[in-house]
């Protein structure tokens, strides 16, 4: 809970969201400070992905407050949200099969200065450089996840919304993604992460939020993870 006095980069208050008639979020409030990595934990179906999608503006049926760098995002059209500085890496990765790896990489428009150059990105992800001319979906699952993260780094976004980046990947790839996120964090990137894998999350997260039934129920720093482990296992069931 460092710097709680300073204004958060992302501020969410009493966020409600609906899928059609289904009320999925019941008043989510959270803060992400500049440079911080925050992880949302919770069982499947409690609203973690919905929270990310509602913040990004993909879900339009929403109520409450979403501010980014002090700027209101509730009335920002979807195609302007990225320009405010938010980068979204979806759970299904969203790699385009009709685009090459390189086309996938340069697809998202640059929204502000401070993004990485293609050369820097290829240094961080040498596999992508080798396979730059392959179709995006010919990559392995791990490589697709790398590409999904990599393409956000060029754009100069200030906050990454990462939805389960390690899901279904081999331990050695998870390790690699952990290194990449640590590198990004060291460069000052702010990250809001949805993750089931505590071990992975505990290495990079500064704070955790636990979600249950469309609400945030617990908020604790990484230092308390060990003592809360038993409770978390019970609530999340992993």
């Amino acid at each position: 809970m460092t710097d709680r006095q300073a204004s958060p980069l992302l501020k969410v208050r009493d966020l409600n969201a609906w899928y059609g008639e289904g009320h999925a979020l019941h008043g989510v409030s959270l803060d992400v400070m500049r440079g911080e990595t925050v992880t949302l934990l919770g069982r499947n179906g409690v609203g973690k992905t919905t929270t990310l999608r509602a913040i990004m503006g993909i879900i339009r049926k929403r109520k409450g407050v979403i501010e980014f760098g002090g700027r209101d995002l509730m009335h920002t059209p979807l195609h302007r949200t990225a320009h405010a500085g938010l980068g979204f890496v979806p759970e299904e990765r969203g790699i385009f099969s009709t685009l090459t790896v390189e086309e996938n990489l340069i697809l998202p428009p640059v929204v502000s200065d401070g993004g990485m150059s293609i050369a820097e990105i290829f240094d961080l992800f040498p596999n992508l450089k080798e396979r730059r001319n392959s179709s995006g979906t010919k990559l392995s699952g791990g490589e697709q996840q790398m590409l999904a993260i990599a393409r956000m780094l060029r754009t100069g976004v200030k906050l990454l919304l990462l939805d389960e980046p390690t899901e279904g990947l081999a331990p050695v790839i998870v390790e690699r993604i952990g290194e990449v996120l640590a590198t990004l964090k060291a460069r000052g990137m702010t990250i809001l992460l949805v993750e089931q894998n505590f071990r992975f999350a505990s290495r990079i997260a500064d704070r955790f939020y636990l979600m249950e039934h469309g609400r945030i129920t617990v908020d604790f720093p990484v230092g308390e993870l060990e003592e809360r482990m038993a409770v978390l296992h019970e609530v999340i069931g992993v």
């Binding site: 195609h79 949200t81 979204f88 685009l99 340069i106 428009p109 754009t155």
Partner: protein, 295 residues
């Protein structure tokens, strides 16, 4: 006289040329339909009317303003394209979130209105549009006589198809189009103005129909029903090529034009239905079309 399978070679080549010219129009029209369907998921029944509109814009520019073929070749697609964008913005864009049938019904109704209006003012008889002086006359190829304008249509349509294909496969705008065809929401979340992209795409597709129309004006007569006569065949081309496949639309357009020409030589009675027979066979064997991805 040289004969092939008991057919004079002149007759064969002549019909192949007619087939190639028809195929050029099939290719340009199905290309526009494929682009629109790919991104908007709208089956653009107004495509034939937009083709007719292109021809009429050319005819009216000449008749009332004295503007000839070459400027019309730019102006007609531009006018039809801009009209298309206005229609997309005002009406079509409101139908994306409802059943795709509404888009189909809307464009079908639009085609009836446009064609009906032109029929009211110009009747059903065709207006003559003479080719530009640079392209009148013909060239003796030794084995046959080729009207210059028809040669121009074949060459120009090849360049138009190639240019459109390159635009989609090799440019940044094309990458946005392809990506938005796969996952529009994500592309929009990346900061691309997808609603604008949809408007632009409908404009480009309409402009292609308008361009085909002005190019067709000197070949066929300019008449309010010229589009509705052609559009059914063009839909068959799109289905054979695979809905939404750009390359499929182009290749199938030329192929079916040639197939139609060949049928006229060997079994003229079947020439009006051969494309539909091919369509039925392709649907039986490969329901996704020759170039389509299995959904």
């Amino acid at each position: 006289m040289t004969m092939i399978f008991g057919i004079p070679i002149q007759a064969l080549l002549g019909q192949l040329l007619v087939g190639l010219i028809n195929g050029s129009f099939y290719a340009m029209l199905s290309l526009g339909l494929a682009i629109i369907f790919g991104l908007l998921r709208v089956i653009n029944f107004a495509h034939g009317a937009q083709y007719m509109l292109g021809a009429f814009v050319g005819y009216l520019l000449l008749a009332y303003l004295g503007i000839g073929y070459w400027p019309a070749l730019i102006l007609a697609p531009l006018i039809v394209g801009v009209t298309g964008m206005i229609i997309e913005r005002l009406a079509l864009s409101r139908l994306y979130n409802v059943d795709p049938l509404y888009g189909l019904l809307f464009t079908f109704g639009l085609a009836l209105v446009i064609e009906g209006a032109f029929r009211y003012f110009y009747g059903v008889s065709g207006q003559v549009y003479t080719p530009p002086s640079q392209l009148t006359g013909g060239t003796n190829l030794g084995f046959m006589f080729l009207p210059n304008y028809r040669g121009w249509v074949v060459v120009a349509s090849l360049f138009i198809c190639l240019g459109t294909w390159l635009l989609i496969e090799k440019t940044k705008l094309g990458a946005y189009l392809r990506a938005a065809t796969e996952n529009p929401t994500l592309v929009q979340a990346f900061g691309v103005n997808v609603p604008l992209l949809l408007t632009l795409t409908y404009g480009i597709g309409s402009a292609l129909a308008g361009l085909a129309g002005i190019m067709a004006a000197p070949v066929y007569q300019v008449s309010p029903l010229m589009g509705s006569n052609l559009i059914i065949v063009v839909f068959a081309v799109v289905v054979v090529g695979g809905m939404g496949s750009i390359l499929g639309a182009i290749v199938t357009g030329y192929m079916l034009g040639l197939a139609e020409g060949l049928t006229k030589v060997f079994y003229p009675e079947a020439s009006n239905i051969v494309i539909f027979v091919i369509m039925a066979i392709v649907l039986l064997v490969r329901p996704a079309g020759l170039f389509g991805r299995d959904a």
